[in-house]
């Protein structure tokens, strides 16, 4: 029987201006029927290009310049238009990253879904709608009839993605292509959608091409994986062997730069991959990875390594056997790794925290109705400490950050203190000293840097806070640039000429320009690739040790938060649900919400972790549940007390607070969701 998808020596070129650029070269792999195949790699590696070539839907300026693709045994690129259309209707389906844009915003879900059956099977009105309802039931939507009447904007992101998957599956395609299907979703929702995909695969048995930058997700879902780098498939094989025993230096590097589950900053720096991803098609006649590889030899720079068959798996490296022993960078423990000064300073009553919030609240008014973005958050930050802030979107993480920085004003009765002194609510009213003390690293470096200014001018403007002038300011600027490892060459560039990682370094340099005491980092690495993320995290750890600043570190990536944080605060719907030392928050006792978050966190190490899933939707923020705001989704709800009374923040020992009616002692009897490593 033929494979669901077979790609041989695929080459894809794009015309850019007058030149033709080869962005995918010599990619070969096959997906058997019923098999799930993961294609991983960093952004710009050609993952999506391969997927679009596999449905013959390249952009106008792109073409397959070599190789062949068979879908279901048919040579895709030589099919006549009619046959191609038939194949696309019945044999292939694709699900994209952003479900909001895959659905037509002006049409009801029912109409959109029924259309598939009307076009493909000639069904009419009511019958087509019934089939649509059946499909929705299949993707575990509880009330299909209601959803069919909804418009896309009335559904949450997770529900939208279910609808898109249902549409993709409606013709029972032999091959389902999923292009980053969970990237925009929250962790608990992502976990649910992945469960669904796993379940459907077992039930329907179609082949899946799963494209993702997220290695743990691919490891969980896929039988085989292919690793793309700069448009080439550098390694390929069964998922378990590729991730456990990689045979290409790039795969090894990629796995090492992710903070492993349970890794901490005082246990050592993160590995990074030196250098930059080359623009596709710029390296020819040698190994594409040679410039960044620690195992490089003369041969790698002179010849293109062939795809070497290692028995059921492939590596495009001359020395696959050397890959596991790839030299590590100096495994020096991070500077400033002394066990958090926070722990002991806090016990001394006369010490004042660096930053303290007291009943900090922010209520927006939406059409006259109150929306509590942040509600009575009380927390401290100590010098040199990192406080991690976790929670899903809508939990109030960013709103809290804006309040601290004075970018929005809190409700009356809220207090923010810097070293014991009250801070004015708005940044515009703060003194030069107060502004210098509190700075921010933004999530999206593209929007955080003014695109019309060079890096030199951008940093220079921030240095005005220091009152340095002339040569002294110039000298400080160069010192600053050096501290974030920017070269003098970068200083005269405008942001758009810099890569994402370099832009974020500029953003960090700007935050440190005035010698801050507290830096709020709002998802500083979520827009970056894994290999770049590691270098940025290392930089943040180094700077903290040198300058002894306190960080408030916001992230949805629990492994990153765990790596960097001394203490962690968990937010849900603007409320502080749990706060405590990082290792206590991770090892338990847990708040039920934290438990669900941890369980949804995909890691390479904990494939057998206990699955706790949250059901139901995030409550409407304009109409919050009474009592404990989490009771509508809580898997461990006690009873009516949860609906009536808001639980207090109960002390579970060693500065660990949990906002739950279940006594801490009982929470502690539950085994941790994921066992600590080792």
């Amino acid at each position: 029987m033929s494979d669901a998808l077979r790609i041989e020596h695929l080459e894809v070129s794009f015309r850019v201006g007058q030149r033709e650029r080869k962005v995918v070269s010599d990619v070969s792999f096959a997906i058997r029927r019923g098999e799930s195949y993961g294609l991983v790699g960093e952004s710009g590696c050609g993952k999506s290009t391969v997927a679009f070539a596999a449905i013959r839907y390249l952009a106008r300026n792109g073409r397959v310049s070599g190789g062949r693709i068979w879908v279901d045994g048919q040579d895709l690129w030589s099919l006549p238009a009619r046959e191609l259309r038939r194949l696309r209707t019945h044999s292939i389906a694709m699900v994209y990253q952003d479900p909001g844009r895959a659905l037509n915003p002006t049409t009801r879900i029912g109409t959109q879904m029924a259309e598939v059956f009307e076009v493909a099977e000639g069904l009419k009105g009511r019958v087509a709608l019934e089939r649509a309802a059946q499909m929705l039931a299949r993707v575990q939507i509880a009330s299909p009839e209601r959803v069919l009447r909804n418009f896309p904007h009335e559904l949450s992101g997770g529900m939208q993605q279910r609808v898109v998957i249902a549409m993709a599956l409606s013709m029972s395609p032999g091959l389902l292509i999923l292009d980053e299907p969970t990237t925009g979703l929250d962790a608990t929702v992502e976990a649910e959608v992945l469960d669904l995909i796993e379940h459907l695969r077992a039930e329907l048995g179609n082949a899946i091409l799963f494209i993702s930058h997220n290695l743990p997700v691919v490891a969980r879902l896929c039988d085989r994986v292919g690793v793309l780098y700069a448009g080439e498939l550098v390694e390929e094989g069964p998922g378990s062997s590729v991730f456990r025993d990689p045979r290409h230096p790039y795969t090894v590097g990629l796995l090492r730069c992710m903070p492993a589950y349970g890794a901490r900053k005082n246990q050592g720096r993160l590995e990074t991959i030196p250098g930059f991803l080359p623009a596709p098609g710029t390296i020819t006649g040698r190994c594409v990875y040679a410039d960044r590889c620690a195992n490089v030899t003369e041969r790698c720079r002179a010849e293109v390594p062939p795809a070497i068959d290692l028995g059921g798996r492939m590596s495009r490296c001359f020395y696959p056997e050397r890959a596991p022993d790839l030299p590590r960078q100096v495994a020096a423990p991070a500077r400033g790794a002394q066990p958090g000064p926070a722990a002991h300073t806090r016990t001394q009553a006369h010490e004042v925290p660096l930053l303290r919030t007291h009943h900090l609240s922010k209520t927006y008014r939406i059409a006259g109705r109150p929306l509590q973005a942040v509600h009575e958050v009380t927390l401290d930050l100590w010098p040199g400490e990192t406080l991690g802030l976790v929670g899903e979107s809508g939990s109030g993480k960013s709103s809290l950050a804006k309040l601290l920085l004075g970018l929005s004003s809190p409700d009356a009765g809220s207090r923010v203190q810097l070293r014991g002194e009250a801070l004015p609510a708005s940044a515009d009213d703060r003194t030069r000293e107060q502004l210098k003390a509190l700075q921010m690293v933004f999530q999206n470096p593209g929007s955080a840097l003014n695109r019309s200014q060079t890096v030199r001018r951008l940093l220079g403007r921030s240095l005005r806070l220091t009152r340095l002038v002339g040569r002294a300011r110039e000298a400080r600027l160069e010192e600053l640039a050096e501290s974030v490892r920017l070269t003098p060459q970068h200083l005269d560039e405008k942001p758009r000429r810099l890569s994402g990682g370099l832009k974020q370094r500029v953003g960090i340099a700007r935050a440190f320009a005035g010698g801050p005491r507290v830096v709020v980092c709002d998802e500083p690495t979520s827009a970056l690739d894994v290999s770049v993320q590691a270098a940025i995290l290392n930089l943040l750890v180094d700077l903290q040790a040198q300058e002894h600043v306190g960080y408030i570190f916001i992230s949805h990536d629990l492994n990153v938060v765990h790596y960097l944080s001394d203490r962690i605060a968990v937010l849900y719907l603007g409320r502080l649900m749990e706060i405590g030392p990082a290792e206590r928050v991770f090892s338990g006792p847990h708040h039920p919400y934290t438990e669900a978050l941890l369980s949804a966190n995909p890691t390479l190490e904990n494939e057998g972790a206990r699955r706790i899933r949250l059901h139901g939707e995030l409550p409407n923020v304009l109409n919050l549940p009474s009592g404990c705001v989490f009771h509508t989704r809580c898997p461990r709800k006690l009873g009516s007390i949860c609906e009536r009374e808001e639980p207090p923040l109960v002390d579970a020992g060693s500065g660990h607070g949990i906002r739950c009616h279940i006594p801490a002692a009982e929470l502690a009897t539950r085994a941790p969701v994921v066992s600590p490593p080792g």
Partner: protein, 291 residues
């Protein structure tokens, strides 16, 4: 600074220069822009050289050769007073090419400042001003300008001022919407965090990023302004005789168009070609800024 660092900086400056060159090359490759610049350039040369370029004296009457059709002696024929139309069309470019660009420039400067203020400061003033702008857009602008000119009296200066003020809200609206988008970007928050004042944020941080939009809007408006000025001149409230202005010429001769078409056609074609040229430049510029 060490020698290698200097060399590096030199290299990056060179790279910046080559980028500027790249943008020029995009501009030169744009056929739209090239066509527009050629047409506009032609009329600018006519406006500058004026009488020196004209084969005959554009203001000399010749009562023996009134209303002569196009011929070898008078390429575009002659008008009621026997003046050479070809020469008058060339000279007629001057006044409109002074008045229309000045009016547009005034409108752009005022409109950009207003748009920046409304878009960044928001609040009640923005709400009210935006409604006023919408109301202004609903009025027939030529009528508004006519009434204003009737009140203050017509001269080149008042025409510039009136058209400039009429354009201000229109340009403000475009700039305001661009500023709204920019204000939400994090670099504005970062500027507040380092204590930049409101004016510094508006003019140093945001303005350079909305400038391309303002420039394209200005070119589009220039096309309208030319048409606007020509209409006013036609109605007698724009450029005043004895100028050889095209609008005036059309007004003087349009009753003759049935038998003496050349007295109107060439002035009308000149006006149209200038508007088209400016619009081509606007399209081309928009393309270059997007690239």
């Amino acid at each position: 600074m060490s020698a290698p660092a200097t060399a590096l900086r030199e290299a990056s400056r060179a790279a910046a220069r080559s980028r500027a060159r790249e943008r020029w090359q995009t501009a030169l490759r744009s056929k739209t822009l090239l066509a527009g610049v050629s047409i506009l350039g032609f009329w600018i040369v006519c406006a500058l050289a004026g009488a020196r370029l004209a084969p005959l004296d554009p203001f000399a009457d010749n009562l023996l050769a009134t209303l002569a059709p196009p011929s070898a002696g008078h390429w575009f024929g002659t008008d009621q007073l026997g003046r050479d139309i070809f020469s008058r069309v060339i000279v007629g470019a001057r006044d409109i090419l002074i008045v229309a660009p000045l009016a547009t420039l005034l409108g752009t400067v005022l409109g950009t400042a207003l748009g920046l203020a409304l878009g960044y400061l928001r609040g009640a003033v923005d709400d009210i001003a935006s409604r006023v702008i919408e109301a202004v857009q609903a009025l027939p602008l030529v009528i508004v300008a006519l009434m204003a000119l009737a009140a203050v009296g017509t001269s080149d200066l008042t025409v510039v001022l009136v058209i400039g003020f009429v354009f201000t809200p229109l340009i403000a609206r475009t700039v305001r919407s661009a500023v709204l988008v920019e204000s939400e970007l994090d670099y504005v928050a970062a500027a507040r965090l380092r204590g930049d004042g409101t004016l510094a944020i508006m003019f140093v941080e945001i303005l350079p990023n909305v400038l391309p939009i303002a420039v394209v809007e200005m070119t589009v408006r220039l096309g309208y302004a030319i048409f606007f000025v020509a209409s006013l001149s036609f109605l007698g409230f724009g450029i005043q005789p004895p100028s050889a202005d095209w609008g005036i010429a059309i007004a003087e001769n349009y009753s003759l168009v049935g038998s003496y078409w050349w007295t109107v056609l060439f002035d009308a074609a000149a006006t149209a070609s200038l508007v088209i040229g400016v619009n081509l430049v606007a399209d081309g510029l928009a393309g270059v800024f997007e690239a």
